[in-house]
Symmetry: C2
Subunit: 229 residues, 2 copies
C-alpha cells in the first residue's frame, strides 16, 4: 500500500494525512468479506460521500462555465459527465483499477474491469480526498483529471462547443460557420492540428489539438469565450 | 423586495452582498414569462446548483453523525430528508411561500402552495447563499433550518434514534430497552417532558422534549452518543 500512497502523491500532488482513508477508498466489499479477521472498512461509505462531492463540484463548474444555459441543458450535460461509463474511464486514466483490493471471487469474475465497480472506486477516492483535505482539494483533483479532459477528443461528444457556438451564432437566423485547418504538424504519434473558425466573414476563434476534431472544439470554445466578453 | 432582504437578514443572519441573487431565488419562471420587458432571470439555474449543495451538506452531516452506518442506510435517510414533502415544509417554515414572485396564472392555480414549487424555491435559496457567501454559509443555514428540526417531533419518523439504539444494543442478542417518563412539566401549550432510557439495568441516556416521543428520541440520541465515546 505504501507504493500506492507514493503514486497518488506523484500523480495528483495529494499527500494523504490519514492514509487509512486512501486504503479504504481502494477496498472493495468482496475483499472485506474474504478477510473478516482484519475488520476492514469497505469503500461504500466513502462512495456515498464522494458521489455528492463530485456532483456539487461539477454543478458549480457548469453553472459558472455556461452562464447563459438553462437548468435543463446543464442537467443533461451533468448526467453525461457524471455517469458510469465516464467515471469508470476516468478511474482507469488514474490507474485506480490496479489499486483496488478485491476478493478472489470478484477478481475471477473480472470485477477489476467492471464499470460499476470502477465508478464506485473513483467516487470513493473523491470522498477520501474531501475528508482528508477539504472541498478545494477535491475540486483541484476533479479539475486536473476530469475538467481538462472534457475538452479533449474523448469527451467532445459531451462538451460539444461546436453545437453551442452554432446555437449562439444562429440566435437571430442562419449563419455560415466554417472550420478551416490552418496547419498540421508533428510526428504521427504526436500530431498537432491548428484550426480557425470563421463566421460573418471574420475569424471568431482559433484552436489547437491532437486531432482535427479536438482542434475544432477548442476553436469553438475560444470563440464562445470571446463572444462573452 | 427591500423588506425581504431585511427579513432574511433578521431570520438567518444572512446579509446578501449581491441582492440580485436573492431576488432571483424567489422568482418563478411564470413571473418572468409575464414580465418579459423586465428581462428577469428565473430561479431554475440557482435551483440546479442549490440541489447539489444541499445534497453534499446533508451527505456530509449523515456521514459524520452515523459513523457506523452502511451506505444503503445513509442513502435511505438522505432520500427521506431531501425530498419534496420535506423541503417544501422547510420552505414554509422559512416563510419563503410569501416571498415568491409568481405569474398570475400560476398564482390563480394555487402555485404558491404547490410542494414542487416550494421545494425548488428552497433549493434556489441555498444556491443563492452558496454563490453569495460560500459553502460554509450554506451549511450554517441548513444546520439552523433543517438539522435542528430533524430531532424534533415532526421528523422523528426520519431521524429514528430509537431504532438505531435498538440496533446498536441488540448487535449481540436481545436486550430489554425501557423508556421511563421522569417528569412532565409546564403549561399545556409549552409542555416539557423528561425521559430516560434504560438497558442492562442502567441508565443509557436522558432527554427532554416538547412531547414524550420527542424526549424519547432525544434520550436515545444521547445514549447513542455516549456509546460512541
Amino acid at each position: 500500500m505504501e507504493k500506492i500512497v507514493k503514486q497518488i502523491a506523484a500523480d495528483f500532488s495529494i499527500v494523504f494525512r490519514n492514509e487509512k482513508l486512501l486504503h479504504e477508498a481502494f477496498t472493495h466489499s468482496s475483499y472485506v468479506n474474504e478477510h473478516r479477521h482484519l475488520a476492514l472498512q469497505d469503500n461504500e461509505r466513502l462512495e456515498f460521500l464522494g458521489d455528492a462531492v463530485l456532483e456539487v463540484i461539477i454543478s458549480d463548474y457548469l453553472f459558472h462555465t455556461y452562464d447563459t444555459w438553462h437548468e435543463g441543458k446543464m442537467t443533461r450535460l451533468r448526467a453525461q459527465i457524471v455517469c458510469e461509463p465516464s467515471l469508470s474511464a476516468f478511474a482507469k486514466d488514474c490507474h485506480f483499477d490496479s489499486y483496488i483490493r478485491l476478493g478472489k471471487g470478484e477478481e475471477n469474475m473480472g470485477g477489476r474491469q467492471r464499470p460499476a465497480l470502477l465508478c464506485d472506486v473513483f467516487e470513493a477516492f473523491i470522498g477520501a480526498v474531501y475528508l482528508d483535505q477539504g472541498i478545494e482539494a477535491a475540486r483541484k483533483f476533479i479539475n486536473q483529471v476530469m475538467i481538462t479532459k472534457l475538452n479533449e477528443d474523448a469527451f467532445s461528444h459531451v462538451m460539444d462547443y461546436k453545437t453551442s457556438l452554432q446555437e449562439e451564432l444562429q440566435k437571430n437566423g442562419d449563419v455560415d460557420i466554417q472550420y478551416i485547418l490552418l496547419n498540421e504538424d508533428g510526428p504521427a504519434h504526436a500530431k498537432q492540428f491548428d484550426v480557425e473558425v470563421r463566421a460573418f466573414g471574420k475569424v471568431m476563434g482559433q484552436g489547437q489539438g491532437p486531432s482535427k476534431k479536438a482542434a475544432e472544439q477548442k476553436a469553438a470554445q475560444n470563440a464562445l469565450e470571446s463572444l462573452k466578453k
